[in-house]
Each structure stands twice: as structure tokens, then as C-alpha cells.
Subunit: 256 residues, 2 copies
DNA sequence: CGCTAGCTTGACACAGGTCAAAGGCTGTGG
DNA sequence: CCACAGCCTTTGACCTGTGTCAAGCTAGCG
């Protein structure tokens, strides 16, 4: 097996995508194979790169193999709001169907590696009526549906954070969410994980100013709720944080 | 044609549903007929009624024929955040597929009339592989997809409002959004519409306190941006409001 | 005709924003 | 190997948008 980007095998590169989709719904051997094939055709982008412009149509699903990104919108006066933070295994944009002219753009927050599905390698079953839309032609319709459902839940959580929670609660909630999502793809242990985000990014996500994010993090440290140095996070009291943030991890519909 | 709820014909009762879906994608005659049939089987609920509980599964799509509702979540200490305001023609909850255990509940804000689709009256084409999920069995897959896309855009708008806009901007933005959506279903003219929402509901939607919503509305009045008495809204300077709120109406994918 | 739900207003408190400056880091070039 | 540049973090002083509390007011409704 030939060495790739920093010497990883295709399977290793697509690990996060595999784990995430498999958690949403167990992958069939055929599907697993197609995921692994993603590792063959990837492209890298530097921090700050625009992964998907404002009105870009989303034809085929693109996944993050490694690195972090975000979906965001800019106001005319320069204010920025980040809708969601994307981690390895996440899809960039949405694949529900043709319409998605999302009014958001996606931007890399770190060095990032992406892979896009080849469209219709599944022609045998694609003879089904196109009523299904393009989403189905590649055989992951149910995964996409569940992924969309999960993401919608995350958006709703975000709305609650922004509308009704204090800076302290918001920050705790975000940390718990990231921890849960990273654990899903095997990139977090019980209480620690790596979060390569600047305080500016946190601010634009949490609807706060940079300065206040800093102060809030200090407060969490003083309260012995977290340790944080560089991008290394340790949650010292997960139960307490969960109460403070009223955090409820997403429920994955089990099975089949 | 027999008289119904306050003497309306089925076609009149389902007007909003028809107009909304037809705007998303022109309805075929057969689809139009099925929509009209909705008017035969409706049920009413009083203000405050729970239309859909917290973890309720969403099997078949339910539409609002008349009245307003909202999707919301409550925090343990009683704080409330409203995710979206539902008007006639809107679907309650989502119909993307089986998983939608949405962590939100839907509540009637006024007296409301609902109608739910009968499941599989379209059996001829439902012989298609069930890979499509239940969403397709009733023949509106593309409408549902576009509706979901539209709603996702509204959620993103809401996140920007809550995260990065001032009370004044948020309020202006909401008024413009409601105006656009009401116009879509033929319930608004160029600048006026009816908004049967208390200031408490506005507050819980906009992430503000009741008192501050009141003050903000006063300010909009003083600035001669709006008139508002009871539930009657007049927007006095739509262009200006649009600039203030940085409002961008949703783009409906045209055609077919 | 009194009650209640909703609206309005003032006085005051506080979470969070803004401004400004000083410290780290880290990478790069001399 | 040092020095500088740039980005990020941290902190203090101060300001303001929004929340809280409390009290009237209004109007529809039983």
C-alpha cells in the first residue's frame, strides 16, 4: 500500500469519515470500501482557504479527512458569525439535494485535507427513478438523512446557546459538544482533546468578543472546570460542566 | 361543497399550504388534488397546545392550515428559546426521514388548525425501493427537500441575528422575514401584515427580555420605521429596514 | 365591572463590549 | 543564534446594551 499524505494508508486517512458514518448507521462492506476509496483522491488546503463559496451549489458530498473548518457568514460591516465548526469526518455543506444554495461559506481553520465522492459509480441501482434526487445515486441516502438530522440538532443547540445562555454556559456547552463529536471519531479520550481554534474563532462562534472569551476561559480555569494550554483541553469536571451547560448529547438512532 | 370550519371549502382552508408548496416547486394537478384533500381532515387546537412533544417521532407530515405556532426548547430553569415561528402553510416538524427525534417541541401560539397527510395513498410508485425512506411514499420528496433547505436558511439567519445583531437589528430582521413568508402565502401586502405574537413570544424568539423588546419596538416607532398596534404591523420604510437588518430574502430555486 | 394578560415606563444593576497596552510564542531572515 | 515581525493571549479601565425589578396602565372577557 503506497504511502500518501504524511505516509498514511487510504484507510487511515478516511478513519474519521468511516467512524462517523458507521456510528450514524452501520456501513455495509460495500459502503466501507467506497469510503476507503475516498483516501485515494484527496486535496489539501491551507488555513483560511475558502472550501465552498457563498452561493456555490453543492453537488457531490465532500468530506474532511483531517483538519478543522467552519461554516460562517459575514455581515457587511465585518462582523462574523460562525454557524458550525467542522471536524474530520464531517461533510462540508449539505447533500440533501439540488437546491442547497446555502447562504453560508465554508472556510478552513487549519491545514485541511478533503475528499469528494465520485458521482455515480453505483449505476446498477441508480436505475431507480430520479425522484430520489442526486443524493441517492451514490448509495448513502440514509446516512445523509441521519447526518442532516444530527446537524440540525447541533444548529438548534447553537440557537439556544446564543439566545438564552450566558458566556460561561455557552463556552461549557461548546466544549462538551466538541468533546462528544471528537469522541465519535475516536479523537478524544474521557476528558481531554485537541481544539485547534483561536479565541477569535471561539468568539465568532459563541457570539462574544475575543476579550470576553478570554475572560470566560480564565473563569473556567479558576473554577477548576477545565485546563487549557495551547490547543490542549482537559475537562476537569465533566458532570458539573454538563449541568452548567444543560448539555444533552445527541441521540443516535441505533441500528440497521 | 359542504361548509367546514367557519364555513370554508377545503380548497380555501388549504390555500396557504398550496401557495407555499407551489412556490417551492410548481405542483402537479395530482399533487394539488392531494393538498386540497387535506382540507377534509383537519383538527383544531387552542393556544398553548403542544402540537408535537419533545422526543416524538415525526412520521407523517403535518401542515398548519391556519393559526401560528412555534418550535421551542425549554431550559431547566424556565428560560425558553424559540427556534422558529410557524405560520399557515408551514409543516410542523420535519419529514426528512425516520430519525427526526427532534429535541424541540412545537406549541400553538394561537388557535390553530392542522391537517396530516394520509400515508401511502400513492402505492403505485411506492413499489420503489424503500431506500427513499417514508418521505417519498407520498410523492412530495422534492418539495420536502426544498422546504428543508429553506428552513435551514431561516435557522442560519436566526443564528446570525442572535449571535451578531443588536436588538434593533434583530427585530427589524424578524419583521422582514415574517413579511416575506406571509407574502409567499398571500397574507401580506406591500408593507402591512398581521402578527399575532405577544412581546413575550418575540422576546423568547429574539433572545431578549420582554422589557427590552418593548423598548426596541418603541424605538422603531419613534424612528418612523414601523407602525404597530395590536397585531397589525405596517413597515413604513422597507428599504431602510432592509439595510439596517442586512436582510436578504431567501432565494427560491425556480422552476420545474 | 372586576380580573387577568399584555403593554409601557422608570430606576437601577450587570454582563459583556470596547479601547489600549503589554506579554508570550513561533517562524524567518540576517 | 539572535532579532525582529506577526499573531495570539492576557489584563486593566471604562462604557453601554440589555436585563431586572417594580409599578402603573389598558383592554378584552367572563
Amino acid at each position: 500500500m503506497p504511502a500518501r499524505e504524511n505516509g498514511m494508508s487510504p484507510a487511515a486517512m478516511t478513519g474519521a469519515v468511516f467512524r462517523r458514518l458507521d456510528a450514524l448507521k452501520p456501513l455495509s462492506p460495500g459502503q466501507a470500501k467506497r469510503i476507503e476509496a475516498l483516501g485515494e483522491r484527496f486535496e489539501a488546503a491551507p488555513p483560511g482557504a475558502t472550501l465552498q463559496g457563498d452561493g456555490d451549489a453543492l453537488v457531490r458530498p465532500t468530506f474532511i479527512l483531517s483538519g478543522w473548518a467552519c461554516r460562517q457568514r459575514l455581515l457587511p460591516d465585518g462582523r462574523r458569525q460562525i454557524f458550525s465548526i467542522l471536524i474530520p469526518g464531517d461533510a462540508v455543506g449539505f447533500c440533501l439535494g439540488p437546491s442547497p444554495v446555502s447562504s453560508a461559506s465554508a472556510v478552513a481553520l487549519t491545514k485541511i485535507v478533503l475528499a469528494t465522492f465520485e458521482a455515480p459509480s453505483y449505476s446498477p441501482s441508480s436505475s431507480a427513478p430520479l425522484s430520489n434526487g442526486p443524493s441517492d445515486s451514490w448509495g448513502f441516502a440514509e446516512h445523509i438523512r441521519r447526518s442532516a438530522s444530527l446537524e440540525e440538532g447541533l444548529l438548534l443547540d447553537h440557537i439556544v446557546r446564543l439566545g438564552r445562555q450566558t458566556a460561561y454556559e455557552r463556552t461549557a456547552h461548546l466544549l462538551l459538544e466538541l468533546h462528544w463529536r471528537l469522541a465519535l471519531i475516536g479523537q478524544a479520550d474521557e476528558r481531554r482533546f485537541t481544539m485547534p481554534l483561536t479565541q477569535e474563532v471561539l468568539a465568532d462562534f459563541l457570539g462574544l468578543s475575543i476579550v470576553h472569551v478570554n475572560r470566560t476561559l480564565q473563569q473556567l480555569r479558576r473554577d477548576r472546570m477545565i485546563e487549557l494550554s495551547g490547543s490542549h483541553v482537559v475537562m476537569l469536571d465533566v458532570p458539573q460542566l454538563t449541568v452548567i451547560a444543560d448539555y444533552q448529547p445527541p441521540v443516535l438512532t441505533p441500528g440497521t
